[in-house]
């Protein structure tokens, strides 16, 4: 079972819900694979605190030019065809700007002189971590890097390798509703949308809901910090969004979170809240698989 935790907006408690669900399943004796898909700002490791390896560099393909074979200025096919402005004709040769390159391979396909081969460039690192009963995956994008999807793809491939040994795969998605989130949501069985009872939280939940309906992924919502602001329950009912459970608002919970500690262990009430959410997800997603 592959469960993604997403939210549209940042700061609503995605990582809180994802990590506490992971802990719940571990306590139930299940094998969990956890993927932190937020490669720009990964935070789940701060809470689950797995033993991490030193990481492996993740690469994406970029073109390498053989200037002797290149037909030169009268051809320039690759420069004209590149949609990403990653190739520029300059001072008598093609100059690749590999940071702009999406690695599509069109230049290589198009070159009539076979002057283009493929090299790679590093976009970040992928790390593997362990806890008893849990395999943890984290990616860390190079700062200033624009290409998150190749790194997310690598993490998901690694998690797929683990999936044969895992009872549940949990994916902590990046914020927003654009390409990195779409990449994270590919092939999941069920999505948990975390929202908070504020106008911002509910507005961005609406965007995430539209995305999931478009991708045709079954989902439900968790209200984090329930009781802190406006009535999110009514909002969910009015919009036909299934409620999976709530995490009650408390200053103790905020303090526990601030220290990087797990809410599941902070109080019996919070443990119960996450247990209920996990059970509800299982009954919903069970039918979806």
């Amino acid at each position: 079972m592959r469960i993604a935790v997403a939210s549209g907006k940042g700061g609503t408690g995605k990582t809180t819900v994802a990590t506490n669900l992971a802990l719940h399943h571990m306590r139930q004796g299940r094998k969990v694979a956890f993927v932190d898909c937020d490669v720009e700002e990964p935070n789940a490791h701060l809470f689950l605190k797995p033993e991490m390896d030193d990481g492996t560099e993740v690469h994406m393909p970029v073109p390498v030019f053989d200037d002797d074979a290149c037909l030169g200025e009268e051809c320039r096919k690759c420069v004209e065809l590149c949609r990403f402005k990653a190739l520029i004709w300059m001072a008598g040769s093609v100059m690749p700007f590999t940071e702009m390159c999406h690695g599509c391979g069109l230049c290589k396909l198009a070159c009539p002189a076979d002057a283009i081969s493929e090299g790679t460039r590093a976009v970040g690192h992928a790390y593997r971590g362990q806890l008893p009963g849990l395999t943890f995956h984290k990616g860390l994008m190079r700062i200033g890097e624009a290409m998150a999807p190749p790194l997310i793809r690598e993490l998901k491939e690694r998690a797929t390798e683990d999936a044969s040994n895992a009872d549940i795969v949990l994916l902590d998605c990046p914020p927003g509703a654009s390409c990195p989130v779409v990449q994270s949501l590919e092939n999941v069985d069920f999505a948990v949308l975390v929202t908070e009872p504020t106008p911002f939280g509910l507005h961005d939940l609406g965007i995430a809901v539209k995305l999931l309906r478009k991708l045709d992924i079954p989902f439900g919502a968790v209200i984090n910090r329930d009781g802190m602001g406006i009535d999110a329950h009514a909002h969910l009912r009015e919009n036909g969004i299934d409620l999976l459970g709530t995490v009650p608002h408390s200053i103790e919970a905020a303090e526990t979170y601030s220290r990087g500690e797990m809410l599941y262990d902070a109080s019996p009430e919070l443990e119960q809240a996450f247990t209920a959410i996990a059970e509800r997800i299982e009954s919903k997603a069970g039918g979806a698989v």
Partner: protein, 286 residues
């Protein structure tokens, strides 16, 4: 004219609420919402839309089933898994590279401009505002951010506004780079939690590339005094002045629910705090 970008690394630290509060005390500013993925500034500033235009960026393929011979070359050569087994484009995965069009031997694929969202120019009670809405699941948010920033700067020049205040994007990737490119100064919003500090360190690293004058505001003061000291220490070591702080207080939520800035909601308390912060920011922006 000076462009100030408010960023935070981590989402949910109060970036948008603080941007709105600054908008309320800055006189003569143009506002820009560059968090196009989760644009929320309009929920507080209640803009009246003057102009709305579609935003196109990149290309998207269209497959002509009549011409398609199902040879499979597009499927084999697409590196983004964006062609289905029944030879239709999978738009969510497509990067618009044009490999499918190039490789198709029967001319069944053509590339067309891709609609990515809308850009809006509006009026608010605190001045003009430029904002956008990214289409669901669309990419190219970096380009939309650049467009929003450029338009807000043009309006500021035209109106003789002194400042552009930009609600930036989260993260350290494409959208936030687009938010910061060409800005004059940056305000970091930090909250005293281990995750936010982790992200603050990443985003401060990014700022080094830009060499922008930067300052920091601490939000949610009181949740963890030890970590507040951590933020102050980190900022000192990084040469980022801390220009003020806001306590962890329900006022932010109540103000948001009433579609008000905290300055309007609590003029004496949060209003005064914001005025002091704004004075400090103006000092380091000059």
């Amino acid at each position: 004219m000076k462009q100030l970008v408010v960023i935070s690394g981590k989402g949910g630290t109060g970036k948008t609420s603080i941007t709105a509060a600054l908008a309320a005390v800055a006189e003569n500013a143009v506002l820009a919402d560059c968090d196009v993925d989760a644009a929320d500034l309009h929920l507080v500033l209640d803009p009246e839309i003057d102009k709305e235009e579609d935003f196109y960026s990149g290309e998207t393929p269209v497959f002509d089933a009549d011409l398609c011979t199902q040879c499979g070359l597009c499927l084999d050569n697409c590196r983004f898994n964006a062609v289905s087994t029944d030879f239709q484009p999978i738009k969510e995965n497509c990067e618009g590279c044009g490999v499918c069009e190039f490789i198709c031997p029967s001319g069944a694929v053509s590339m067309h401009p891709r609609w990515c969202g809308v850009k809006r120019v509006s009026r608010t009670r605190f001045g003009p505002m430029v904002h956008a809405e990214l289409g669901i699941g669309e990419e190219n948010s970096g380009k939309l951010v650049t467009d929003v920033r450029r338009t807000s700067a043009e309006i500021a020049e035209r109106d003789g506004a002194e400042f552009v205040i930009v609600d930036g994007s989260p993260g350290v990737g494409c959208p936030v780079i687009a938010s910061l490119t060409g800005a004059d100064a940056c305000l970091l919003v930090a909250e005293p939690t281990v995750s936010a500090i982790h992200d603050l360190e990443r985003v401060a690293e990014l700022l080094k590339h830009f060499r922008l004058p930067s300052a920091c505001v601490i939000n949610k003061r009181g949740v963890n005094p030890e970590l507040e000291e951590c933020i102050i220490g980190f900022c000192e070591a990084s040469g980022i002045p801390v220009v003020g702080s806001y306590p962890y207080d329900a006022a932010f939520n109540r103000a948001q629910s009433e579609r008000m800035t905290v300055v309007e909601y609590d003029p004496e308390g949060f209003g005064l705090t914001t005025r002091n912060i704004w004075e400090e920011i103006k000092q380091f922006m000059v």
